[in-house]
Symmetry: C2
Subunit: 233 residues, 2 copies
Amino acid sequence: MVEKPKWDMTSDIHKYPKPSVTVDIVIFTVQNDELRVLLVKRKADLKKGEWALPGGFIRLDESLEESAKRILEQKTGVKDVYLEQLYTFGDPFRDSRGRVITVAYFALIDSEKMKIKPTEEVADAQWFSVYNYPPLAFDHKKVLDYSLTRLRSKLEYTTVGFQLLPQKFTLTELQKLYEVILAKTLDKRNFRKKIASLNLVEQTKETKMEGVHRPARLYKFKSKKFLLESDVV
Amino acid sequence: MVEKPKWDMTSDIHKYPKPSVTVDIVIFTVQNDELRVLLVKRKADLKKGEWALPGGFIRLDESLEESAKRILEQKTGVKDVYLEQLYTFGDPFRDSRGRVITVAYFALIDSEKMKIKPTEEVADAQWFSVYNYPPLAFDHKKVLDYSLTRLRSKLEYTTVGFQLLPQKFTLTELQKLYEVILAKTLDKRNFRKKIASLNLVEQTKETKMEGVHRPARLYKFKSKKFLLESDVV
DNA sequence: TACCATAGTGTAAAAAAAACAAGAAGAAGT
DNA sequence: ACTTCTTCTTGTTTTTTTTACACTATGGTA
């Protein structure tokens, strides 16, 4: 066992007042043709019973992203999801208990993973439509609004959207996903032409029957790595 | 004088360990057809004499943006510049003195304002080409790299670039600005067509003589407010 | 085998982006 | 006053990208 490196606690920097720092995560999924966000009912002293974004205090020996992953796993039981830093909110009085700065992340979870059974920790977590959710504690509405804008924007010029689908999916499902998030309808032929031109997906030999009609071809992403390439900035 | 509101210091949240939080600013300007960044020589105990991004510890009663503005003014003597939150860096050991999380901002200063005489505070600040600057302390190279990517990206789909020019400017100056930041040449006629179609600038009646040749028409932005409209996300 | 519902596909028009060159204007030198 | 020098200014054609739009294919069920 390696002894963890420590800091120079005698340094002058420790004379500056320190704020609390939390990580809050906006976790999106698409379920039943609806864009949903995960909210938790607060147990902590302040604002008990109110709904809020899942979050928690960072630990000093983990990076911000590690904090986010830890909290994400605690609250949802899932790992290995798309996670991206969103923005840092730090109004002095956004929390009456103290100066609390929160680094907001957004996460995308595909509908398969999302079905994972809730642990005890997760008991009071619930999915809400982004168009219809209860009042939120702190400035979490602002955080949610902002992340929704960002998600829509990134959907247009990156491939983040793919993170919300299971490994194999039909083109209609993919299109529906875009339509649900962007809240507008898209032309089927143009959409397929676009996807084809991006050269990111390939046919499988499987099909999927969804009702009493012609079954749809299943597709898969060509490469997982490739997905993040265009996500810089 | 109004008594400042305070926090509930008895709350449980104060039992969680707190990191130090700083704000670092990547201040860009364009000078002599070069994209430059402002760096300061460190006076503090650690890494004394090394170059770093201007920055400082936040105060608990000011917002992050207020902190950034304060530090910006201390270091450059200028106010009212374009300022945008970039990213928050928080690797546990990015600073050996303690856990220090830094919220990075980037600022754009036009070449006129930039000429402001340095105060004592600013004595050891210096502009460097983004292609040729000294080794930086901490993870500031990473911060600078990231902000450069972001600046280039935003230049393509927003009007941030206009922040780097004085009130009145020629179209050639505007084009040169884009060329310098994007590090590529642009077609003069297409560039002007584009600018015209954006409908953001208007002719003035003045011209500017730059050498022994035909003088160029000066333009100005139609509205300052308008500039930020497309800067969401 | 007829019906139902969605899957799957191509072409033409419009808009946006890229490629490309010549005359205009002012200053300086003759 | 006119020639020269250097940058300013402007338009058309081609290519690429985006949008609009409608019919046939397929498998299951009645």
